[in-house]
Amino acid sequence: MTVTDMPTAIESAVDDGDSVYLAGFTHLIPFAAGHELIRQGYEELTLVRATPDLVYDQLIAAGCADAVTFSWAGNPGVGSLRAFRRAVEEGVPNALELDEYSHFGLTSRLAAGAQDLPFVPLRTFLGSDYPDVNEHIRVVENPYDPDEEVVVVPPLTPDVAVVRAQRADRDGNAHVWGIQGELVEAAFAADTVVLTVEELVDESVIRSDPNRTVVTADVVDYVVEEPFGAHPSYAQGYYDRDNEAYLAWDETSTSHEGTVAWLDEWVHGVENRTEYMEKLGAERLLELLPKTSYNTAINMGAYQ
């Protein structure tokens, strides 16, 4: 277990050609890690995410990827992922190999990977055209009922997962609240895990509420504390989604040149996440802070 900074964690965990899962379903997307991958100039990555979101649009525009495994490639609530589309439709800046599922198909693959299973069955894909275009989606006979056909998908074990949580202790035991998406499955499926958090807390904070600990030190290799590291996505209770950024990307990404100019300014033009936040400015970040709404504390009991 190493508590470190993002540049060191990324440099230590990721190699060119790796498959990488930046986890988080709309919530807790590790944008800072994505920007660090771009700054360090990674190549030929296989990007894996249920929703590629802006973070993979940016990695694709930067030329870091040659394959994408995904289940919904849009700008959530806004429209298209234009850089992703440009790569698929026009091969700009390079062509992408696609490995496509539904959300349940992809998250089932991760769950199989997390449990070291050879495959998992699911009630999805029959009647659709996905089995015709993806050889990983297969139909087998139910071993307990030969009259039934069952769809199966194989495990997915990314080389690296970057997962984000609100808080963790220095060992990498993490508390998450709000939407969890597929982050737990990604963390347990991947070979190497970078855990990035809004704040590091004392071990006693984690132990006071063990049911909220969704990722434990058992699977975490690097711990990075980086406030606002999920911007422009959000962290429940810490800051809201910066919707202006999602709308602005829709404009910026209408041309490849526009995306490159944006990357020059906001990724290559800053040294690290701290400079990115300084460039955004305190006023903009303050506007994203929610009012407080605390849960009712539970009593775990103190037993003698």
């Binding site: 709309t26 919530h27 919904w72 609530g77 349940f104 999805t124 009647g127 609240w177 998406g181």
Partner: protein, 265 residues
């Protein structure tokens, strides 16, 4: 043509196509339903239903929020307001597995770039899969929603391009090979209603789409002209009930006050 006007509310005359579609979709939902909601127009329809007769409607989102009670219009299906004050928030594999796949969701909203005569939807590619003319976002949760809920509802603009006889790619299966074909695949339920800016459609015994009502000011020839196959019409074809004044007030003042999804027409 008959008018199936609702006696409870005052019918409005000044409304947009989107407002009509939202109000009409809301009437498909009942007090006992659990619905898998999509963001945007379906979300407004579900919240409208909760305020107009389906107060017990349970809203589940594919991000894993169960019994959501959003305090503002969600910007995406992963918006924090879907988690705050929800009854439960579960990992996606559990939401899709324990709730959807296990048959605990009654209704699902789906959309797509194309829908065909058997209610199959395409949200994946226009053209050839390996060399698409247009790359669309893909399934998201649509394929499993289409396969596992009892009733799917579709809200979509009506045009020849969007209503081909066969979709380019089946992302979300409808009555593939008819109702029997769908059942033979082990898929639950199926498409229930398609609500467009021109008409409302249902599915017959064979699983083929037919028109049950056309909207005020729209004639059947116009609906046929905007559809890529020979469309059937109900013998008792009706005129779609317009939104009531109260429904419009709720949409405009409470559910989408900034007109994010209902403005700009």
């Amino acid at each position: 043509m008959t008018n199936d006007a609702d006696a409870e509310g005052t019918e409005a005359t000044d409304y947009t196509d989107t407002e009509l579609m939202i109000a009409r979709a809301a009437r498909e939902l009942t007090d006992d339903d659990t619905v898998l909601v999509g963001v945007g127009v379906p979300n407004i329809a579900c919240n409208l239903a909760k305020r107009t007769g389906a107060s017990g409607l349970e809203m589940v989102y594919e991000s894993g929020t169960v019994g959501s009670d959003p305090s503002r219009l969600p910007l995406s299906i992963g918006d924090p307001v879907l988690a705050s004050n929800a009854r439960s928030v579960v990992p996606m594999v559990q939401g899709f597995g324990y709730y959807l796949q296990a048959g605990r969701i009654d209704v699902g909203f789906l959309g797509g770039a194309q829908i065909d005569k058997h209610g199959s939807l395409n949200s994946t590619v226009i053209g050839d899969y390996d060399d698409p003319d247009v790359r669309l976002p893909g399934s998201g949760g649509a394929c499993e929603i289409a396969s596992n809920v009892e009733r799917t509802l579709v809200i979509t603009p009506h045009s020849r391009r969007r209503f081909p006889e066969e979709v380019d790619f089946v992302t979300s299966p409808g009555y593939v090979d008819g109702r029997e074909g769908r059942e033979a695949l082990g898929l639950r339920g199926g498409p229930e209603a398609v609500i467009t800016d021109m008409a409302v459609m249902a599915f017959d015994e064979a699983g083929e789409m037919y028109v049950t009502s056309v909207h005020p000011g729209v004639d059947r020839e116009a609906v046929q002209a905007a559809t890529g196959w020979e469309l059937q019409f109900a013998d008792d074809l009706a005129e779609t009930t317009p939104p009531t004044a109260e429904e419009l007030r709720l949409i405009r003042e409470e559910l989408d006050p900034d007109g994010v999804y209902t403005g700009g027409e």
